[in-house]
């Protein structure tokens, strides 16, 4: 996935940064927390704004033009998402609140329908809580087994153990494409391939990956793929669940209500086909429209160009941080990208976070919703910097200066 790609666009981060009003409004801020949530370009903000100001109405059920225009905008975004991740059809795209909901939806529909006591689900030690807790809840309900692929010292999954764990009891492999805590990227292509050979259903958590590499779910051939709009420069409250059409068709509905039904009587209710079956109630219309605008924005800059640029910046940041005495970077697997988790000797990550903030540098300090990774590293928390397309070398330089100040204070 990270092979050098032919760059059609020249990407200019300084220029792109001007599209993000947050930086004009906070000129002294260096934002290095995009893995938690990305900032929004004016194009996305305008799309949301236009949705409410020009052609807003509830969708799907209105015969009048405002409603039909809003419906077209909402469904148009579904097509954009499908194209962006290489789905075969927009009917394979379900809009959710966020990746967390996408995973819960799969657990509660596909999971409860297909799993029984004795079956196993395989996840890794580097999953985000969103890809742990839903399966624990299902485990406790159904009496299934939750198996954990351990991570190596270099911060990627232990492939040999993975192969051993992938036996006939395993019914689902649910794995992240990029660790949000370490930035390492498990070999999902190979893992999905091996799982499918054994008839195992596969779910890929693309929250981080979809932002930093071209994704094609059809080539990847996973059954499910999930991500959140807010990390892809889109609005909050909108997430994506991709599912192969035959999977979505066979699944029972998730939430019940308006829009997901074909007909309702008190005796019997029949459900609409996917994706409507999984989108009960009035959806986040403006959120979907904004996500479509975010994808348009990325396409206009060229995803490959962005990725190449980010990779270069990532290497620059790695070198710059390693040049500071007393800094430890967690995970050194070559697959790493966009995210660096580190510690500064004798300073707690929370103190680092605060002192960096005082200097205008926004990083995350904590467990990054991946407590098992922290446990594996033997630390209560780490400091994490993560890149967005608007970051520049100046931001990294600022981070370095700010870290030196931390060391000076704690001297």
């Amino acid at each position: 996935m990270n092979a050098v790609l032919e760059t059609k666009h020249i990407f200019d981060a300084e220029q792109a940064k001007k599209d993000f009003p947050i930086f004009a409004n906070n000129p002294n801020i260096t934002f290095l927390d995009s893995a938690a949530s990305a900032q929004k370009p004016q194009q996305v903000i305008d799309a949301v704004n236009n949705c409410y100001s020009n052609a807003y109405a509830n969708i799907h059920r209105g015969v009048y033009k405002l409603s039909q225009d809003a419906t077209a905008a909402y469904e148009g975004s579904r097509e954009k998402v499908a194209e962006f991740i290489g789905a075969n059809s927009e009917r394979e795209i379900v809009f959710t609140r966020n990746a967390t909901e996408s995973i819960n939806l799969i657990a509660q529909t596909w999971g409860r329908q297909n799993l029984k006591a004795g079956d196993a689900i395989l996840i890794s030690e580097m999953e985000h809580h969103a890809n742990i807790v839903p399966w624990q809840m299902l485990r406790d309900e159904l009496g299934i087994d939750l198996r954990i692929i351990p991570i190596t010292d270099s911060g990627n999954i232990d492939f040999d153990v993975f192969i051993n764990l992938l036996d006939e009891d395993v019914k689902l492999l649910s794995i992240t494409q990029m660790s949000n805590a370490l930035g390492t990227c498990p070999p999902v292509f190979d893992m999905v391939k091996m799982a499918k050979e054994k008839g195992v259903v596969t779910l890929v958590d693309g929250c981080q990956a979809v932002v930093h590499m071209p994704v094609n779910v059809t080539e990847l051939d996973c059954d499910f793929y999930v991500f959140s709009g807010h990390k892809l420069y889109g609005p909050t409250g909108i997430g994506v669940l991709y599912g192969k059409l035959e999977m979505l068709e066979a699944m029972p509905p998730y939430q019940g209500g308006g829009d997901m039904i074909r007909s309702v009587t008190f005796e019997k209710t029949t459900y609409a086909p996917p994706p409507a079956k999984f989108e009960a109630g009035t959806p986040h219309i403006a959120g979907a429209v904004g996500l479509g605008a975010a994808i348009d924005y990325i396409n206009s800059l060229g995803l490959e160009a962005i990725c190449n640029y980010e990779k270069e910046l990532f290497d620059y940041a790695t070198k710059a941080l390693l040049a500071i005495d007393g800094i430890t970077i967690y995970g050194h697997d070559i697959s790493r990208d966009a995210i660096i988790s580190f510690s500064v000797a004798n300073v707690h990550p929370h103190d680092i976070g605060t002192i960096l903030d005082q200097q205008g540098v926004c990083v995350r300090a904590g467990h990054h919703c991946a407590q098992p990774v922290m446990k594996r590293l033997g630390v209560p928390a780490t400091t994490r910097m993560s890149l967005g397309l608007y970051n520049t070398k100046a931001d990294i330089d600022h981070l370095v200066v700010a870290i030196r100040k931390v060391q000076e204070i704690f001297g």
């Binding site: 300073v347 929370h350 002192i355 205008g360 209560p380």
Partner: protein
């Protein structure tokens, strides 16, 4: 940002206590114990107190790991409550809580606690400054449940 501003929160006294916490370790004579946890940053603390039958706090010690703010707060606390009655300790806690949350409430505080009022500007760090105090409070009340600062 000037060095001065930066030092507002991380004053020398805080840094000094964080580096060399007082009353750190086990406590054989303690008759009150509690465990506190801040899930957001992983701060984890156990407070041991020895209270005599007149309700006077003889000694307090603490164990665990945390950031500079929470460690310094625990260290300074153990010194301040020594010899105080339960009521006095609780009053100190209440005043401290107000002072780190609201503007202009620091007059009543002993100097040693005034160094923490800088956390007011960092709502997430208020939890660090008060974790030890919450845990002491639970110990004095003999609460069994783990204290958390969510």
């Amino acid at each position: 940002m000037s060095d001065n501003d930066l030092r507002q929160l991380y004053q020398d006294m805080i840094l000094e206590h964080a580096r060399k916490p007082r009353n750190f370790g086990e406590h054989e004579d303690a008759n009150r114990h509690a465990h506190g946890h801040n899930p957001l940053c992983g701060d984890d603390i156990t407070v041991h107190a020895e209270v005599d039958d007149k309700g006077i706090i003889k000694t307090v010690k603490f164990e665990g790991q945390g950031c500079a703010i929470s460690t310094a707060a625990a260290s300074i606390m153990t010194g301040l409550v020594k010899g105080k009655t339960l009521a006095e300790a609780n009053e100190l806690f209440t005043n401290f809580q107000h002072a780190v949350k609201d503007e202009g409430m620091e007059q009543k505080l002993p100097t040693k606690l005034k160094v923490f009022v800088g956390v007011k500007d960092y709502p997430m760090r208020v939890k660090c400054a008060t974790l030890a105090w919450h845990t002491l409070h639970a110990a004095l009340e003999n609460k069994q449940e783990q204290v958390t600062t969510e």
